[in-house]
Symmetry: C2
Subunit: 196 residues, 2 copies
């Protein structure tokens, strides 16, 4: 995908035009999602640059600090849920499978749904906005005659987030699926939404 | 209860024997629980000393650091749940009401149930132990013919913790009760257990 850089410092500025920049940005977000999922939100940014195959200078050019790259990952997560919900003829189960995948991958995504808990008002407001976008997406594929209201469905998602803990994504997925089962709610396969 | 000390430094060593020490310790734990519930685990320790009506020197003599006092609060929470479960002829509903009260009061108690998430292995092991004590207490009052297994019940508690977010204990209680309702599980009044 991108050239592997063994040295932590970037050797070449790699200013290869807007196309390469977009490519690097996407690679950094994908790498950050994986690293954050495994190591948590405190993971060293150098690990993200290494995984993306770019130098740290490139990372800092795109994302001045940890908050910026975490925000980009969350934005992409929400956009994928919106994408899954926008597919013609999709079902609530399918979209909940995508939501659950994000819950089991990303501790940050769980934090997002706990927006009431953050100390910083700007982060609270921003994460409330993302959370509302998830709600809107789900509302659009909630059948009118469904047992749950949209509010209940958001509460159920927060509940599954509470259950989706554990040292590995596998264990978190096992617990998340068990939690949906306790709620009597069917979810589709737990996997990411890939926009083809 | 104890003499109010307006100055942040303690004026008198207040070495008034083991009875006063036990009294101060209990007052500090009660104060820490209230302060942590409102301000979170990062609350200034001076606020806890002030609320307990003792000088900071007394606080530090009982609890050398923040971890020590947080641990004492959690230990007391778990002991209260064990106390509620040990009452002759109590019901699961009643004990779950006490558990829910702790969930809505204490962000630290929620963290305890997410012991898989902590970075420090010693804290993980210690909080697993407390979590197992909660499980044992609940198992003892779970009717043999209950719809839920003991594992499911612990998962349900983690789910309710995930839902019990919000800026005030009132809002957290509202959401926790709604979460139990979604699970179809009846809980008794949400209040602390007072050992008489």
């Amino acid at each position: 995908m991108t050239t592997q850089q063994p040295a932590p410092q970037e050797r070449r500025p790699a200013n290869r035009g807007p196309k390469a920049a977009a490519h690097n940005r996407a690679a950094l977000i994908a790498a950050a999602r994986e690293i954050f999922a495994v190591q948590g939100l405190d993971a060293p940014l150098s690990a993200i640059a290494r995984r993306a195959g770019v130098g740290q200078g490139v990372l800092y050019r795109h994302f001045p600090d940890r908050e910026a790259i975490a925000a980009a990952v969350l934005e992409k997560n929400v956009r994928e849920i919106e994408g899954a919900a926008a597919v013609e003829g999709t079902s609530l189960d399918t979209v909940l499978g995508v939501v659950t995948w994000h819950q089991t991958q990303s501790a940050a995504f769980i934090g997002l749904l706990h927006h009431g808990m953050n100390d910083r008002a700007d982060i609270r407001a921003w994460s409330r906005k993302l959370s509302e976008r998830v709600e809107t997406a789900l509302r659009n594929c909630l059948p009118a005659d469904h047992r749950l209201s949209a509010d209940d469905l958001m509460l159920a998602i927060a509940m599954v987030s509470g259950a989706a803990t554990g040292p590995t994504p596998q264990e978190r997925e096992r617990r998340a699926v068990a939690a949906w089962r306790l709620l009597g709610i069917t979810v589709g396969p737990v996997h990411p939404f890939e926009d083809e």
